[in-house]
């Protein structure tokens, strides 16, 4: 009998992930009570909460498992439990479909992992992390490459790296919002944990192209994720695509750390890893926050379609503040934490381009370009995600009648908003902590490495002149903002504000349908990226006379390139092969027996060959 070896690790990397898991799950758990109350039966709520707790514990087990056997088991438990949470809304056919796609993709990923783990086990003869690490040192480069690629495919599926992201924007929105926040905030991060644990710590970076491959995939994920997010009108799907993008940004940091450590630039490697991990914790927190906010909007309005919202800032003041904080952070607006981490990654690229000679110089410049473009598009995307639902006027009766959500939901989201601000102001402390984690991961002694001048000022280029201080920046912005407000107040005063109708050229019949739409907002980007989005557009006008149009309909949609061309081809091929295989099934028992006989004969004849 095989004994399951129970062993756990609590090294800096595990502890870092533990902190993230616990922070997000506490907030989500508080939030969930208000979210589930009154929408499901008591028994179902209890079931949901049990699954939720199980989910959290499985993730904790994933990041603390001390051997690959236990890791694989808890990894599978995590996937299964999250599958049940995706299909929690069992009456909804869409949930079941989303769950099936999720299940298939996650099992494909696990299959890759299993292969990688079996190769590791064969080399080491032990499940233990340390034993495997010791055994892999003498492994040939070719085998290491194979293991790395298998690991990348396996964890990449979970992380949602393009083109393996397909399940993410389908499954995440279908789960309950507090679960989405946990899935997007934490679960997909466990894949990054796996990549760091197995790819960097256990396997050890062996070739330069590992890091380069990760950076290239990360750039593609960033851009594809954000472009799709920009096109999306379903608020939760938008957030899910944005997760694909942010996973890309995280991997930019980790991939470049792998490049630097291979080239021997240890300080830069630590900085890159640190930036990646900083963005990881940031994304966990603000994406969790945004999903909770989206859930509040969904509960208040009953819809997830941005086109049917509007003016919610009046109805849901608390939610809109949280959502605004989250949107600002994810759009990398200074002085919030998203800005700090993306800025750090950009600095890493620039310092890398300066330090390295040859083709990699250009490589880092291009990566920096991709990140900058991503960052700009993200800002546009979240102008849409915040502006259309919360500003303007209600676009439907549902949005008109929205009510503020229960206090437990606001409390859960509020905790995460608070964490966002703390992480922004405490950037120096965070970086100091992360330098320790990065040093552990890359096996670098970090006692001499210090990326800060004092408690307030970050200085990523040691001895250089690049500095950033979020508290001072926040103070300046606060002072400038309130100064401008006071100035205007003194100049014009309250009495000068006049509320009236929008000027409509004398039409007098403006309704909420005349407002800017989400589809309209994203149109310039649809045109700019039409080579990738392949938009389809159909306009039909029914005219009464030459001058009077009676009705007008406009239809547009974009083509999901990967689903349409990559996955459909694979599925079509699989079904084609199955259909052809059906020719073997003739219905005659004798022929079936004959197949067995033939196989036996062939085995007997060719036994010497095996």
């Amino acid at each position: 009998m095989l004994k399951i070896p129970f062993s756990f690790v609590f090294d800096p990397l595990s502890i870092f992930f533990l902190i993230i898991i616990i922070a997000i799950s506490i907030s989500s758990f508080i939030y969930s009570w208000g979210y589930l109350q009154g929408h499901y039966s008591t028994a179902k709520i209890i079931l949901g909460q049990i699954l939720f707790v199980l989910f959290v514990f499985s993730m904790i087990a994933v990041v603390t498992a001390g051997n690959i056997f236990l890791f694989l088991i808890v990894w599978e438990i995590m996937s299964l439990v999250s599958y049940f949470l995706v299909i929690f809304d069992t009456e909804n056919k869409k949930s079941i479909e989303a769950g099936t796609i999720y299940m298939v993709m996650t099992q494909v990923g696990t299959a890759f992992l299993l292969m990688a783990f079996l190769l590791m086990y064969r080399a080491a003869g032990s499940f233990d992390f340390n034993a495997i690490h010791a055994a892999l040192i003498t492994m040939s480069a070719k085998q290491k490459n194979i293991i790395f690629l298998l690991l990348l495919a396996g964890f990449g599926t979970k992380a949602g790296i393009v083109p393996l992201h397909i399940w993410l924007p389908i499954a995440h929105p279908q789960a309950s919002s507090h679960v989405s926040s946990l899935m997007s905030g934490v679960m997909i991060k466990t894949a990054v944990y796996g990549l760091i644990r197995f790819g960097i710590i256990i396997l050890g970076v062996n070739s330069l192209w590992w890091g380069e491959l990760i950076v290239v995939l990360a750039c593609v994920s960033c851009l594809v994720g954000v472009i799709y997010a920009l096109m999306e009108n379903d608020i939760k799907t938008l957030l899910a695509y944005s997760s694909v993008e942010n996973m890309g940004i995280i991997l930019l940091g980790i991939g470049s750390a792998m490049i630097f450590i291979k080239l021997g630039f240890t300080v830069l490697a630590v900085l890159a890893m640190c930036a990646g991990l900083y963005h990881l914790i940031n994304h966990a927190i603000f994406k969790g926050l945004l999903f909770l906010g989206a859930g509040s909007v969904y509960r208040a309005t009953g819809t997830r379609n941005i086109e049917r919202m509007g003016g919610l800032i009046q109805k849901l003041p608390w939610t809109s503040i949280y959502f605004l904080i989250g949107s600002m952070a994810i759009s990398a607006l200074p002085p919030l934490n998203g800005f700090v981490s993306e800025w750090l990654i950009l600095i890493v690229f620039f310092l890398g381009a300066l330090a390295i000679t040859g083709g990699l110089k250009l490589f880092f410049c291009l990566a920096a370009g991709a990140l900058a473009l991503t960052s700009g598009l993200t800002a546009a995307c979240f102008v849409k995600a915040f502006g259309l639902p919360f500003l303007g006027r209600a676009r439907s009766a549902k949005a008109e009648n929205a009510k503020e959500v229960p206090w437990s939901m606001n409390l859960g989201a509020g905790l995460l908003a608070l964490l966002t601000i703390l992480l922004s102001l405490g950037a120096v402390y965070t970086v100091r902590f992360l330098v320790g984690v990065s040093g552990f991961v890359l096996a670098v002694n970090t006692s001499q490495i210090n990326f800060s001048l004092n408690r307030f000022i970050l200085s990523p280029q040691i001895g250089g002149t690049i500095n950033l201080s979020t508290p001072i920046l926040a103070l300046i912005l606060l002072l400038a903002g309130s100064g401008a407000f006071i100035l205007f107040y003194l100049l014009y005063g309250k009495a000068r504000v006049v509320i009236g109708q929008t000027w409509d050229c004398g039409y007098y019949k403006l309704t909420s349908r005349n407002e800017y739409t989400a589809t309209g907002f994203s149109k310039p980007f649809r045109l700019a990226f039409s080579f990738f989005l392949l938009p389809f557009r159909k306009v039909t006008k029914i005219k009464e006379s030459r001058y009077h149009v009676k009705s007008f309909s406009y239809e547009t949609k974009t083509t999901k390139v990967f689903r349409e061309y990559l996955y459909k081809t694979i599925l079509g091929g699989a079904f084609g092969v199955s259909r052809n295989m059906r020719g073997l099934q003739l219905g005659s028992i004798h022929i079936y027996l004959g197949y067995i006989c033939l196989t036996l004969l062939l085995l007997i004849i060719f036994v010497g060959k095996f």
Binding site: Q585, G587, S588, H590, I596, C597, V607
Partner: protein, 211 residues
């Protein structure tokens, strides 16, 4: 004695392939099982194990007497045509069987390359019986041939286990006997049902289940 048993086992295997009537098939099977009893008895006498006596007794009771009796009764009851129904006629089957023997010998001498000749011979005989059992299942039409083929394969496996590896643990042996017995009963029930539904036990008529 050794030679006698080996020849007997081989001869009955050929008799199974050459049989043209259902009752001849069952009779050959019964005879083959009898040679297995002899083999077990010889092992028992040599090893002086009580277990082996019990096994020999069980083979005698089940495979030589009870199962053939059940099968013969079934043939009588459903008034099946005595003709077996061939996809390949007996003469040609015999040629194929010769080829299979050669293959089995080659396989056996490959697998038991470092063992004494007797083991190789026993290996070859048991592989022959297994493959001929399968051959009967594939190329005979009546459902009873499939049952007998399966039982013959089981005989081959029994032979392989007892002659080459000195027999399986007693408990496993008992479990297999039970399995075979239950299998025959279930298959018998199936044959009755097939006979009722299709007016005959030609299983080449069962061809409607397909994708």
């Amino acid at each position: 004695m050794e030679l006698f048993i080996i020849l007997g086992l081989l001869a009955t295997a050929f008799a199974l392939v050459f049989a043209k009537r259902l009752s001849a098939l069952v009779g050959s099977f019964s005879l083959q099982s009898f040679f297995l009893v002899l083999l077990s008895l010889r092992e028992a006498v040599r090893g002086a194990h009580l277990d082996l006596y019990i096994i020999a007794g069980l083979v005698l009771a089940l495979k030589v007497l009870i199962i053939p009796r059940i099968l013969l009764n079934m043939i009588k009851e459903i008034k099946a045509n005595e003709n077996l129904g061939f996809f390949i006629n007996p003469q040609l089957s015999l040629l194929v069987a010769l080829g299979l023997i050669y293959l089995s010998w080659a396989f056996s001498s490959l697998v038991f390359a470092h063992q004494e000749t007797l083991v190789k011979v026993y290996g070859a005989v048991s592989f022959t019986i297994i493959s001929l059992g399968l051959f009967i299942m594939v190329f005979r039409i009546k459902a009873l041939a499939q049952i007998v083929g399966l039982l013959a394969m089981e005989n081959g496996i029994f032979l392989l286990a007892s002659a080459v590896s000195g027999g399986m643990p007693f408990l496993v042996e008992m479990a297999i006997f039970f399995d075979v017995f239950v299998g025959v009963i279930i298959l018998g029930v199936f044959v009755y049902r097939i006979n009722k539904l299709f007016v005959g036990i030609d299983i080449d008529k069962l061809n409607r289940l397909r994708g």
